[in-house]
C-alpha cells in the first residue's frame, strides 16, 4: 500500500502506481477504481477529490491494482451493504405490513425505510419487534440508489439471516466521529498494520461498540462514566500516531477508573 497527497485534476502516475504488478499476458494492466477517481474513456483517470492517493496491489484472482483517493471528512453518501446507526422517528403502514422511518444523521439521504419484516425471526407478525420513536437501531442498507431517494434498511446479518448484532440498541451512548474514522473502526483488526484504538481499549476495559458508516458510534460499558471515557478516547486519538494513541487511551481510561 502506497500513498501520496493528490488534488483534483492532478495526473495519476499510472506507471509507478501499477509497478510490476502485471499479469504475464500481453493484455493491459487491470485497474480497479475506488472512490475519488473518475474514469473518462478511453484511458484518462481523473482524481476528483483532495486526499491521499492510495493504491493496493492484489494478486488474486488476477494481478490487479486498486486506486482510490482516501479522505477523512465530507458527508456520508449511503451505499448498499454499509452499516448505519439511526434513530426511529416514525411508523407507517397497517397491522399486516408496517414500516419504520429511520433518521440517518450525517447522511446525504437523511431518512431510511425499515420494514418491520426486515428483522431476524420476523416471519410471524407476533415475533416482530415493536420499536417506539427515539429507539436507536443498528441497520444495514439493503437497497439504495441516489436517483431513487430513500435508502432501504434491514436489521439482520445478510449471510446467516440471524440477528448478528443488528436491531435495537438498548442503553449505551451515541457519539459523532468523522467519516474516515468510522471506516477505520470497521476495518478488520490489523488492517493498518497494528492494533487499532478498539484493540487497545479492548485490552483495558470490557465494552460494546457499534459503528455506523454515517459517522456515528454507539458505546456501552460497565458505567456511564466509563462509556464517556471510551468515547473521549476514540474521538481524541483520531489523528494521533499509534504510540501516542496508546498512551493517550491508557491515560484516559486510567483517569476514568480513579475518579
Amino acid at each position: 500500500m502506497s500513498s501520496e497527497v493528490i488534488l483534483p485534476g492532478d495526473p495519476i502516475p499510472l506507471d509507478s502506481v501499477i509497478g510490476d504488478n502485471l499479469d504475464d499476458s500481453d493484455s493491459g494492466p487491470v485497474i480497479q477504481l475506488g472512490p475519488g477517481v473518475l474514469h473518462i474513456p478511453p484511458e484518462t483517470l481523473l482524481p476528483i477529490r483532495a486526499g491521499t492517493l492510495t493504491t493496493v496491489a492484489r494478486s488474486k484472482p488476477q494481478k490487479s491494482t486498486t486506486i482510490y483517493v482516501d479522505t477523512t471528512g465530507g458527508r456520508y453518501v449511503p451505499a448498499v451493504h454499509d452499516t448505519i446507526l439511526g434513530t426511529v422517528i416514525g411508523r407507517f403502514g397497517d397491522q399486516e405490513k408496517s414500516f419504520y422511518r429511520v433518521s440517518i444523521p450525517g447522511s446525504a439521504a437523511p431518512i431510511g425505510i425499515l420494514s418491520s419484516a426486515a428483522f431476524a425471526n420476523a416471519a410471524s407478525r407476533h415475533t416482530r419487534p415493536n420499536l417506539s420513536n427515539g429507539t436507536t437501531v443498528y441497520a444495514r442498507i439493503s437497497a439504495f440508489s441516489i436517483a431513487l431517494g430513500e435508502p432501504e434498511l434491514e436489521c439482520f446479518d445478510e449471510n446467516t439471516g440471524k440477528e448478528g448484532g443488528f436491531g435495537e440498541l438498548k442503553g449505551g451512548m451515541l457519539a459523532d466521529v468523522s467519516n474516515g474514522l468510522a471506516r477505520r473502526l470497521l476495518a478488520p483488526s490489523g488492517a493498518y498494520g497494528g492494533p487499532s484504538v478498539v484493540d487497545v481499549l479492548g485490552k483495558l476495559v470490557p465494552f460494546e461498540i457499534a459503528v455506523g458508516r454515517n459517522g456515528r458510534i454507539w458505546i456501552d460499558s460497565e458505567s456511564c462514566k466509563m462509556t464517556a471515557a471510551i468515547i473521549t478516547a476514540i474521538q481524541e486519538t483520531e489523528e494521533l500516531p499509534r504510540e501516542r494513541m496508546e498512551e493517550r487511551v491508557q491515560k484516559i481510561i486510567k483517569g476514568a477508573r480513579k475518579e
Partner: protein
C-alpha cells in the same frame, strides 16, 4: 512589450476544516481581505429546487456589514460561473450542495468589487475540497488593478497592483484606470483554461492580454499556496498513519 508597469503582490494564506457543524470550511486571507466559506452537501434538497440529473448548487454570499444587496447577488453569480463548471454535479443527482460565503473583510474600496470576488472564489474552492465534493480540477483567481499617475513634472507613471490591500488601493484610487478579476482552471499546477475575466475601466487589447499572462503566473502561485494548505490538512488528518 511591457505595457504595464511593475507588479506588486500581497501574499495569501489559507486554512481549512475549522467549522464543525458543516461538511467543509475554509478561510482565505489576502492583503486586507478575509473570507470564510462553509460547504454542506450532498444533502437533501427542497423538492422545488430538485434537479433530476444533477445536484442543485446553492451559493449564498453574506456581506461584512449590513444586509445582502445587489453586490452580494453579483458575487453569487460570478462565483457560480467559476465553480459551477468545475464541480462534478452529475455524480450526486437530486441533492443539494450549499456554499455559504461570509465576507469578514472585503478588502475593496467603496467603488470597487474585485478583491472580495477573487478571494471568495479561492476560499470557496478550498472549502469544496475540504468537504470532499467531487471537482474535476483546481481553480485560482486573482485581482489586477492598473493605475496611471501623472506627476506635476508632466511624466506618467503607470503601475499594476496584484491582490492589493485596502490602504494601497485608497492611495491610488483616483488614478485607477482599469480593474481585472481573472480566474483560471488548473490541472496538476498547470493553467488549463480561463474561467472568468471581469474587467472594468479603460484599457487596450494589449493591456488585457498582459493582465491574462500576469494573472496566469499569479494563479499558478496561488495554486501552490492551496496545494500546501491541502497537503498540510490531509497530512494532519492522516497523522494516525505514522
Amino acid at each position: 512589450m511591457t505595457v504595464l508597469g511593475p507588479a506588486q503582490r500581497s501574499p495569501a494564506t489559507a486554512t481549512t476544516a475549522f467549522l464543525y457543524r458543516v461538511d467543509g470550511s475554509a478561510s482565505w486571507t489576502v492583503g486586507t481581505a478575509h473570507i470564510i466559506v462553509s460547504v454542506s452537501g450532498p444533502m437533501e434538497v427542497n423538492k422545488r429546487d430538485e434537479l433530476p440529473d444533477i445536484a442543485t448548487l446553492e451559493i449564498v454570499v453574506r456581506p461584512d456589514v449590513g444586509v445582502a444587496s445587489t453586490r452580494e447577488q453579483f458575487l453569487q453569480d460570478r462565483i457560480r460561473r467559476v465553480v459551477g463548471p468545475v464541480i462534478a454535479l452529475e455524480l450526486h443527482p437530486r441533492t443539494l450542495i450549499q456554499i455559504v460565503v461570509q465576507i469578514v473583510q472585503s478588502g475593496d474600496t467603496k467603488t470597487l468589487n474585485t478583491i472580495a470576488l477573487s478571494a471568495s472564489i479561492n476560499a470557496t474552492y478550498m472549502a469544496l475540497l475540504d468537504a470532499g465534493v467531487p471537482v474535476r480540477s483546481t481553480v485560482s483567481a486573482t485581482s489586477i488593478v492598473c493605475y496611471g499617475t501623472s506627476s506635476i513634472q508632466g511624466g506618467l507613471t503607470t503601475g499594476v497592483l496584484i491582490d492589493p490591500t485596502r490602504p494601497e488601493l485608497e492611495k491610488i484610487e483616483k488614478d485607477i484606470t482599469s480593474v481585472h478579476t481573472i480566474a483560471y482552471e488548473l490541472k496538476g499546477g498547470q493553467i488549463e483554461r480561463l474561467l472568468l475575466s471581469e474587467s472594468v475601466g479603460t484599457f487596450t487589447e494589449d493591456e488585457v492580454f498582459e493582465c491574462y499572462d500576469t494573472a496566469a503566473k499569479v494563479c499558478e502561485e496561488t495554486n501552490g499556496t492551496m496545494r500546501e494548505a491541502v497537503t498540510k490538512s490531509v497530512q494532519q488528518k492522516g497523522g494516525w498513519r505514522d
